[in-house]
């Protein structure tokens, strides 16, 4: 069970990273191939501050925030004027620099020996991991809400316009560089902070955590799920990481001989799935459309109607328990409530 909670927490981190990448690539078209660089930077900064400098979780998180804003802004200033291929190379190089620094700067990171132990920010006996999972869940849900609202807001439309045709957008009086910079920094800082939050999860940090396969896993998840769709990141991570790393690796009844093959099979199946999606559904599993306003309204009123229905059922049940002999009043209120619900739906 402890292992499941650990992998589920890791899954949330991946969802968060994919959401941040969705803002950068899905909405703005910035090909950031240095996801693991930002994530690793945040994670190791957290580790160094907590272990070497004995800082508290909150102080360290604040310093990571400051550091990540500075680094993301510098990266944005360097790469956002470049064409997409150059941006891609520059961000890969950034990730390589981070992973090299982690190995070479032994005075801070302990190099290949590894850095530990990073404690949870709180400790409540056996429930710590669960509470931390709930905390991560809240963070990721918050991020998803941000992305959903971003899609519906005027800013979201502007970001899509910049992705489609930046020069045209500038010719209409939009400061495209500033907008790109702002959201690139926000998304990169989110990646760094998710790294910082991964540090207590991993407890012991080693340089082999900062490998390009993290970047690729996030990218594959986003492309599979649908890079332009607000829910593509979540769906993609569940289909890749959730399906393979959690369901198959942990729960599939596999004999010990086969168990060695599973991780390689996983990469193979990732690749196969990615190829199939790119050939048969290039937009990803979810096509890049936002539900129009009236769909939201329908979802909302259906939710309200369902809520009212549940309330009525609950009331009926309560009444039935309290007065087992008189069913009449309960029925009439139920009828009224149902009318109300029908009104709400229409």
């Amino acid at each position: 069970m402890a292992y499941l909670i650990f992998t589920l927490s890791l899954l949330l981190i991946y969802v968060g990273l994919a959401l941040a990448l969705h803002i950068q690539f899905g909405l703005l078209g910035i090909a950031n191939f240095g996801v693991v660089g930002f994530w690793g930077l945040g994670m190791y900064a957290m580790g160094v501050l907590q272990v070497q400098l004995d800082m508290s979780f909150v102080d360290a998180l604040f310093l990571v925030l400051v550091l990540s804003i500075a680094v993301s802004w510098l990266m944005g200033w360097l790469v956002l004027r470049l064409d997409p291929q150059a941006t891609l190379c520059a961000t890969i190089a950034f990730a390589a620099i981070v992973s090299l620094l982690v190995v070479t700067e032994k005075w801070a990171t302990m190099g290949v020996v590894g850095l530990g132990t990073i404690r949870y920010p709180f400790r409540i006996g056996g429930g710590t991991e669960y509470l931390y999972f709930a905390f991560l869940l809240a963070v990721v849900v918050g991020l998803q809400i941000l992305v959903l609202r971003l899609h519906r807001s005027p800013t979201g439309k502007l970001l899509q316009a910049i992705r489609d045709n930046e020069e045209l957008c500038a010719s209409l009086g939009k400061n495209t560089f500033q907008v790109k910079m702002f959201w690139f920094v926000i998304a990169s800082v989110v990646m760094c902070l998710l790294g910082a939050l991964s540090a207590p999860l991993n407890q012991f940090l080693t340089p082999n955590m900062i490998v390009p396969s993290v970047t690729f896993a996030v990218w594959i998840a986003l492309i599979l799920g649908g890079k332009g769709h607000s829910l593509g990141a979540v769906v993609g991570v569940f289909v890749t990481f959730g399906l393979f790393d959690i369901l198959i690796e942990t729960y599939a009844p596999v004999s010990p001989e086969l168990a060695v093959v599973v991780p390689n099979m996983k990469l193979f199946l990732y690749g196969l799935l990615l190829m199939a999606v790119l050939i048969y559904r290039p937009t990803g599993l979810l096509a890049p459309t936002t539900p129009p306003e009236h769909v939201w309204a329908e979802i909302r009123s259906a939710g309200i109607a369902a809520g009212r229905g549940a309330m009525t059922l609950f009331q009926n049940g309560k009444n039935a328990i309290q007065n087992p002999n008189t069913n009449q009043p309960a029925d009439s209120t139920a009828a009224q409530e149902n009318d109300g619900a029908a009104d709400g739906k229409s």
Binding site: L146, R149, D164, A170
Partner: protein
């Protein structure tokens, strides 16, 4: 709004394509800019709107207070905010925005479009929304809440997107290319209304000379990167240089 260019040149790898000694644009209601292919018309418009970095020279904007401002220190989006907006010769579009969203996106002022709008989800104000609706009702889009599909729709949308940002000097690069004739007439009617209302002045690049003679009150003739002649349409029609270099008489 008036724009003057002095000693404006542009060369690509040493090869000069534009050399304007002294010219001013936007002082005559609707102006035309004509010239053979490769004369440098689009390059001139690019230099005026700061999309293309001129090699030497200066472009000055006469503000409402009569004080000229050099545009050389500004970026293209700043020039657009000052009121200098250009439509595109080749089809340009935002493929993932619907026609209405595209107009909304262009019309929304930048302070209503920043990160705060994620929390407020602020809809565009009613006046602008009504203006967009009027514009869309006036032109025959197959579905204003769908995407621009045909080349003609994209070209028309490109022009309307520029109109909705309320330019003061409106530069139109070949508005008839790719547009059906009757829609071009409607566009010119709309432009004429805006000019008569004093909202903007216009400069049109066009090969369709009928449109030029019919709409423009002043015409610049550009050839081999320089303005060889300019004046009233009748004078330009009769000019020998224009006839030789362009109309092939």
């Amino acid at each position: 709004m008036k724009l003057s260019a002095t000693n404006l040149t542009k060369s690509y790898t040493g090869h000069p394509v534009l050399d304007i000694q002294n010219a001013s644009f936007g002082g005559h209601g609707i102006e035309g800019l004509i010239g053979p292919n490769g004369a440098g018309k689009s390059t001139l418009l690019g230099c005026l709107t700061r999309r293309i970095q001129a090699t030497t020279g200066d472009v000055r904007l006469d503000g409402d207070d009569g004080v000229p401002t050099s545009l050389m220190g500004y970026q293209s989006y700043e020039v657009a905010r000052m009121g200098l907006v250009k439509t595109n010769q080749r089809i340009q579009n935002f493929d993932s925005l619907t026609i209405r969203d595209s107009l909304r996106m262009a019309a929304t002022p930048s302070d209503k479009q920043d990160w705060r709008s994620v929390w407020t989800l602020a809809p565009i104000d009613d006046a602008l929304e009504a203006e967009i609706a009027t514009l869309l009702a006036r032109f025959p889009f197959s579905d204003p809440d769908g995407y621009a599909m045909s080349g003609g729709e994209k070209k028309l949308l490109d022009i309307l997107r520029c109109v909705i940002v309320k330019p003061k000097l409106f530069l139109m690069d070949e508005p008839t290319a790719g547009l059906p004739d009757e829609i071009t007439q409607d566009v010119m009617k709309l432009v004429r209304e805006k000019v008569d209302a004093g909202e903007m002045t216009v400069m049109i690049i066009e090969h369709d000379l009928d449109l030029i003679w019919k709409n423009c009150s002043y015409v610049h003739f550009l050839s081999e990167g320089s303005i060889l002649f300019e004046g009233k349409p009748d004078a330009v029609k009769k000019n020998r240089v224009v006839a030789e270099k362009y109309m092939g008489v």
